[in-house]
């Protein structure tokens, strides 16, 4: 690859800039200027490779790191510039598809706000100086604070931590599926079972945004496409505020925040009583809880009436195999798994996952528990040196964790980042990180792993900022400095990775390596897990608290797009309207019209939302997709230092959250009680469409599922 490097650099420096500049001239009036002889320059290659032809795009396989799902991508490279990303059809995860966050990875790479040079404090330094500074300052055990990390980067991180006296790794993801994972672990003994939405004929989700941000959205959406094909599956979503999944549900049920579990148990109750489904498969503790959950109780807890419960039960019964998922709180997930156990979905639509054989390649998923622990340990002074990469704790930490004070207690804070953000402001050393399109790596996608698939990430183009280094290279360097064993004979991460993968596929031949690069994935040996029932499981139904007078329950929702805020600096995603509210370039608070009427609010009014931990002011968006007791503010905006596109846009609802954590999972709660007060200002919330009605036009027509079944039965209109 070292030989192609030089070519690619030529590519970039050479034809690339000229091409782009010319493209900008577009068809404006004075475009003839470019026609003058000798006006433009054209460079030639030194020694190009056979497949490199100017004017013809070459596709390289790589991996998308925009979210933990780790989809495989194909990048179109022409004249040394990565121009477009598409899904990699070879992967089992996304099967050639990509979501808008993946499409926008290009702007992460080309972002004008990238960090170009290392800096200590405010002044720019060389790598040598920075590393020397780190070496000097790093006393005691280092801690790594990252997002979800997997593959050989994880291995090297362990190597570094072990070599430097067994520090801890904190994987932080605000948007995660920890509740679901621990529930699965407790009920069926497999934290990451494989889900087959495409096999299911009905799916019920209790507070899990399966199509939007949950575990592996693109995979689930691809499955959903099959799920909707003949015979058409039925999707039911129970949640306090409408997510992308809820917007696509046949039957969307608004439950009071924190009461989805009650609804789930109510449905189980209805199944047991109306359809006499046996609860023998359940642990007795859970079965008892089900029978205490009478429809009346469910209504008082969640505000969901009996008819709805029995309708959901009926749907589940009449369309099997079914699949029930739940997230948001441990109880939701356990109750969902209880339903799966009752309906016999275990083994049908939920199958065991697999363990990669070098187990340390597996994905270390992030959690907010880790975030809380990090804050706690930092406060208590257990962390002397922190290496932060791929995480923005200052922005994502709920206000209750006092992350800033916690960081202040750490002597050495090293940020390895692509962009200046809220966290780098608090760091002593900031090292420029290469973008995912410039870096090597391997990634074990959470669900691809079930097939033992590891996605390989390779550079699509030469580094935009020569001083930026890949995470792997930095980890390798640190591990080598720390004197980790068996790493000394690798001069860069590429060498290490190639050796490791060659070992994995059992051959070191160039051809095999090229095949791996072309496929963009490597088949790692994996051992299938198996389910184990857990009889002693209990579930304690939360007394979901109806808000008191003048109070509302704040929900911080995540949307595919800005996600947890890491994509707020990508103009494409800022300008891509939010799926539900269609708002752009700002934050908003979703309120039910009746609630708004009670508070005397109308669309576009500014409100001040006050919680025990903070207050923020934003505009409201009225619609019926949120529970009357709730007010939902999406995450992602409200950055203070995050480049020209994100800074001082919108508000960050995480600032309102407290530190209270879930007893079973240790996850920080994403809801809190707030007071809402109108400020009196009103400005139109900029969005794609302020009209939600079709005025009798046939724009999005809808037919009933019965008609569709008739179509599918006579083999017509299935499409």
């Amino acid at each position: 690859m070292s030989s192609t490097k030089i070519d690619r650099r030529n590519f970039l420096k050479v034809l690339g800039l000229g091409g782009a500049g010319a493209a900008l001239a577009g068809c404006d009036m004075p475009s003839y200027a470019t026609l003058e002889e000798g006006e433009e320059q054209v460079f030639s290659y030194l020694a190009p490779e056979e497949y490199v032809i100017p004017g013809i795009g070459v596709w390289y396989a790589s991996t998308c790191l925009q979210c933990p799902a780790g989809c495989g991508v194909h990048g179109r490279v022409r004249e040394g510039r990565a121009l477009k990303l598409e899904g990699n059809p070879n992967t089992a995860v996304n099967r050639g598809k990509l979501c808008q966050m993946g499409q926008a990875a290009l702007q992460t790479h080309y972002n004008p706000d990238r960090i170009a040079k290392p800096r200590i404090g405010a002044k720019e330094v060389t790598w040598a100086q920075a590393l020397a500074f780190i070496k000097a300052k790093s006393t005691g055990t280092p801690a790594w604070l990252t997002g979800a990390i997997s593959g050989h980067q994880g291995v090297l991180m362990d190597a570094h931590l072990n070599a430097s006296g067994g520090g801890k790794h904190y994987g932080v993801e605000i948007v995660n599926a920890q509740a679901w994972r621990s529930a699965c672990a407790d009920t069926i003994g497999d934290a990451q079972p494989d889900l087959h939405i495409d096999k299911a004929r009905s799916m019920v989700s209790f507070g899990a945004d399966v199509l939007g941000t949950w575990i592996s959205p693109v995979k689930f959406m691809a499955d959903y496409g099959e799920f909707r094909a003949a015979p058409r599956g039925v999707l039911t979503v129970i949640e306090p505020a409408m997510t992308l999944s809820g917007a696509n549900a046949d039957h969307w049920v608004a439950a009071r925040p924190g009461s989805e579990a009650a609804v789930a148990l109510g449905v189980a109750n209805a199944l047991a009583t109306e359809y006499s489904v046996s609860t023998s498969a359940l642990p007795t503790g859970v079965a008892d809880a089900i029978f205490t959950m009478t429809p009346e109780r469910v209504r008082e807890l969640s505000g969901v009436d009996t008819r709805t419960l029995s309708r959901i039960a009926g749907t589940l019964m009449s369309n099997s195999p079914s699949l029930v998922i739940g997230d948001g709180s441990y109880e939701n997930a356990v109750a969902a798994m209880a339903l799966n156990l009752m309906l016999g979905n275990i083994g049908a639509t939920i199958t065991p996952g697999a363990d990669l054989v070098p187990a340390d390649l597996a994905m270390r998923d992030g959690s907010t528990k880790a975030l809380a622990n990090f804050a706690k340990n930092a406060q208590s002074g257990d962390i002397q040196a922190a290496f932060i990469s791929g995480a923005n704790p200052v922005f994502t930490a709920p206000d209750g964790l006092n992350m800033k004070d916690a960081l202040a207690k750490i002597e050495l804070k090293v940020a390895i980042a692509m962009f200046e953000d809220e966290t780098t402001q608090f760091c002593d050393v900031v090292l420029p990180l290469a973008s995912p399109l410039e870096d090597w790596g391997t990634h074990a996608p959470p669900l691809g792993a079930a097939r033992g698939e590891i996605h390989v990430q390779q550079p699509l183009m030469e580094k935009l900022h020569p001083e930026a280094l890949g995470l792997g290279d930095i980890l390798l360097g640190l591990a080598q400095d720390a004197g980790a064993a068996g790493l000394d004979d690798f001069e860069d991460y590429y060498g290490y990775l190639r050796t490791a993968i060659s070992a994995m596929i059992g051959t070191g031949q160039e051809a095999a390596w090229q095949d791996v690069l072309q496929a963009g994935k490597v088949q790692a040996p994996a051992t299938q897990r198996s389910f184990t029932a857990n009889g002693s499981l209990t579930i304690n139904v939360p007394e979901s608290k109806a808000p008191g007078k003048g109070e509302l329950i704040l929900i911080t929702t995540a949307r595919q797009g800005l996600y947890d805020g890491r994509h707020a600096n990508l103009p494409w995603l800022q300008e891509a309207p939010d799926q539900i509210s269609k708002a752009v370039w700002d934050s908003w608070a979703e309120i039910h019209p009746t609630t708004a009427a009670r508070l005397g609010l109308k669309d576009g009014d500014y409100v001040t939302i006050t919680s025990a931990d903070g207050a923020l002011t934003t505009r409201i968006f009225l619609y019926k997709g949120v529970h009357p007791d709730a007010i939902a503010v999406p995450m992602g905006q409200g950055h203070t230092h995050y480049g020209r596109y994100a800074s001082s846009v919108g508000v960050n609802p995480l600032n309102l959250l407290g530190a209270d954590t879930d007893a079973r999972t240790g996850e920080v709660s994403n809801t809190t009680t707030v007071h809402v007060q109108a400020t009196g200002d009103n400005r139109y919330l900029v969005r794609l469409m302020d009209i939600d009605r079709q005025y009798g036009r046939k724009l999005t027509a809808t037919i009933s599922a019965d008609q569709q079944r008739r179509n599918q039965s006579n083999k017509q209109g299935g499409a």
């Binding site: 493209a23 598409e86 909707r228 103009p571 009798g696 037919i703």
Partner: protein, 286 residues
């Protein structure tokens, strides 16, 4: 007679021929699309893919609020269901109990496009591939076409767009199509640059274009495979099959289907614009 008069006569003959054949000239292809609204989740991936593929400028909040955004592919969201309410009213009228309705809306490449006859300089016209093309460097920006478009899918460069790509973002610009300057009308071309590339490849390999050679950016990225693109003249193409199965025909403003339950419909068909994007109705449990 060569040259001027010759061209005029030739043009007239061609035109009258087209009139006799109901406006269908000698098309080489008839590229059309199918969008399954039951698969579409409204996730916006198509729109962003379009931004990446077609050098669409980002305008920012103010201009977006002034409705000067340039999204060729916009995903609309509606909260009412006119047809559904006839069948069964939502059981809880105070919640969005059947979710939202999403509609990916881009240029429908009408065969009887209202935008084409009104352009004073013929900058928008119908190609032999059955696409409604926009020649940017011919456009003088009279904006008549956009006024006459019932779908409102033509976007005008109200400002110079250079500042949308601060360095090094300009390196991402797709060199296969020009960056439009201010005062030019633009719209979805169904990724005509990909058609061009595919045609060259096919010629290089000495074969005809086959189904699957061309994938539009939105189709390729759509996570639920809700978008299908292809050639209607090619009986074997997926698109042609779906149109046939849905019993929807071109060249009419009133489809007579044997099976009224079929989901295929074209938006504003009654205007007789003869759109080439077939939408499949969204399905909901009652």
């Amino acid at each position: 007679m060569p040259s001027l008069l010759g061209n005029i006569f030739k043009g007239w003959a061609h035109y009258s021929k087209g009139v006799e054949e109901g406006g269908h000239h000698d098309y080489e292809h008839m590229f059309a699309m199918v969008i399954d609204l039951d698969r579409c989740t409204g996730c916006n991936a198509c729109s962003t893919a379009c931004y990446a593929e077609n050098n669409l400028p980002v305008v920012g909040e103010d201009k977006f609020g002034a409705r000067q955004a340039m999204h060729w592919m916009r995903v609309e969201r509606y909260f009412d269901e006119p047809d559904m309410d006839k069948i069964a009213a939502a059981e809880e009228t105070d919640t969005q109990s059947r979710g939202a309705s999403f509609l990916p809306m881009m240029c429908q490449h009408c065969n009887a496009a209202p935008c084409e006859p009104v352009c004073p300089v013929g900058a928008t016209y119908h190609t032999l591939d059955g696409l409604n093309a926009q020649v940017y460097n011919r456009c003088i920006g009279s904006r008549y076409c956009a006024n006459n478009c019932p779908f409102r899918v033509r976007y005008f460069n109200f400002y110079d767009t250079a500042e949308s790509w601060p360095a090094p973002m300009d390196q991402q610009l797709n060199p296969d199509l020009s960056v439009r300057s201010k005062g030019v009308m633009e719209k979805c071309t169904m990724c005509i640059q990909r058609t061009r590339a595919a045609r060259d490849t096919a010629k290089r390999e000495g074969r005809a274009l086959i189904d699957g050679d061309i994938q539009t950016a939105c189709q390729q990225t759509c996570p639920t495979s809700a978008i299908v693109f292809g050639d209607l003249l090619d009986e074997t193409s997926a698109v042609a099959k779906i149109w046939k199965r849905q019993q929807v025909k071109l060249g009419t403003y009133k489809q007579n289907k044997e099976n009224p339950d079929l989901r295929g419909y074209r938006i504003f068909e009654e205007l007789n614009v003869d759109a080439k994007v077939l939408y499949l109705e969204r399905v909901r449990e009652v």
